[in-house]
């Protein structure tokens, strides 16, 4: 509050200088593709003058408030008052982006670089591809120049890749295995014609860590995931049957199999098998 008068003068001077600059650009029509450069230079000049004066008379920066006034004024004058029918085309969008960037640099840079690149990378997976490429490039150089045994490591890598190829899941064998456990798995609550005795609710789960090899394609990773999920489901059902058997049962009714993610950032699959353990009398 001590320097309020000085601050007011600084802002007013900055604003006046900005207006003069804007008038200059308008008068000589200094423009690119019909877009007047005064929209950038007027707020810049206003802010610059205000900051210089404030540093001199107050001893500190007061935040280039005049630049903000100029931004509002020039935008209002150019886009609303002077040209209210301005078409919404790529140049207009670009102009608005540049004006906003000049007025709110931090916010606009954040939107451009963080949100913009974030959206692109999310949908295209481009950064994953770049990191994979860089990883493989560095590894290649490391093997060639540091270890000096590239041929051996290359062979190992090929072997390693081969060993990670997704085996075919034998559906028939899996089904036969589950149904030859001398155990009744029933998703329904109706026991057909059998008498039974309830033992209690049983729940087993299997957790599988997700596959994180960098040198595999997304399709290969998903095939591997499906293979692991099918295998995990069988293991989970076998565990459930064993638990119920050890409690004196020989079947499960109202069986539910659930799949989900668990762990930090969902880095593992969780498979649950839940049901009511029963003892069936044939």
């Amino acid at each position: 509050m001590k320097y309020i008068r000085e601050a007011f003068i600084c802002i007013l001077t900055g604003t006046l200088v900005g207006l003069v600059v804007y008038g200059f650009f308008l008068h000589f029509n200094i423009a690119i593709y019909g877009w007047n450069l005064g929209l950038i230079f007027a707020p810049l000049a206003a802010g610059y003058v205000e900051t210089i004066l404030a540093n001199r008379f107050i001893g500190e920066n007061i935040g280039a408030i005049s630049a903000f006034f100029l931004f509002i004024y020039t935008t209002f004058y150019s886009f609303i008052l002077k040209n209210p029918t301005l078409g919404f085309n790529i140049i207009t969008i670009g102009s608005i982006a540049v004006i906003l960037q000049a007025a709110f640099p931090t916010a606009v840079n954040y939107i451009l670089f963080s949100i913009g690149f974030g959206i692109i990378s999310y949908f295209s997976g481009i950064f994953k591809k770049i990191t994979n490429h860089v990883y493989n490039l560095i590894l290649g150089y490391y093997e060639k120049y540091v270890l000096k045994e590239p041929h051996i490591l290359d062979l190992e890598r090929i072997e390693e890749k081969k060993s990670y190829e997704v085996p075919t899941f034998n559906e028939k064998e899996s089904n036969e295995r589950i149904n030859s456990l001398d155990f009744y798995f029933m998703t329904s609550t109706d026991l057909i014609t059998m008498k039974h005795e309830n033992i209690g609710i049983f729940n087993t789960h299997v957790i599988i860590e997700k596959y994180k090899r960098l040198n595999l394609t997304p399709q290969e990773i998903e095939n591997k995931a499906l293979y692991e999920l099918k295998k995990g489901k069988d293991e989970c059902l076998i565990k459930l049957s064993e638990e119920i058997k050890s409690a004196g049962g020989n079947g499960v009714i109202d069986l539910e199999i659930q799949y989900g993610l668990i762990g930090l950032g969902g880095d593992s699959f969780q498979i649950n098998a839940i049901g009511i353990g029963v003892k069936l009398f044939s």
Binding site: I119, Y122, F123, S124, G125, K128, E171, K172, N175, I178, N179, Y184, F185, M186, T187, S188, T189, D190, I192, T193, K210, T217, P218, Q219, I221, E222, A225, L226, L229, K230, K233, L237, L255, E256, I257, Q258, Y259, G260, L261, G266, F269
Partner: protein, 107 residues
């Protein structure tokens, strides 16, 4: 092959339990599909391409389950359950479709 989510078959007598049958399929990484659905997510509306993919995945899971039931000598599946789970994945769009039920024989 009769499929039902009910516990019994109406007007039919169940004569034998054949076993548990399951089917799974996964839809996931497809950059163009994801990009397209991403645009639709922004502007709103139905993502028909995704719906088709989900239907295809569900059909695969059901076919796999029915094939197993036939191998067991069943002619119906009761207590059928179908579920769709998002399992993250490369683009966060990996969907696991599972179908499972109790294979039985009826007269």
């Amino acid at each position: 092959m009769i499929l039902t989510s009910a516990n019994t078959l109406a007007n039919k007598e169940i004569i034998d339990y054949k076993g548990l049958v399951t089917g799974e399929s996964l839809i996931g990484a497809n950059i163009y599909k994801d990009l397209f659905s991403g645009v639709r997510d922004v502007v709103g509306g139905r993502t028909s391409r995704y719906e088709e993919e989900l239907e295809k995945a569900r059909d695969i899971a059901l076919e796999s389950m029915k094939e197993k039931a036939e191998n067991l000598g069943a002619n119906a599946i009761i207590g059928l359950k179908i579920s769709y789970d998002n399992l993250g994945g490369t683009m966060g769009n990996t969907i696991l479709v599972t179908a499972y039920g109790t294979a039985i024989k009826y007269e």
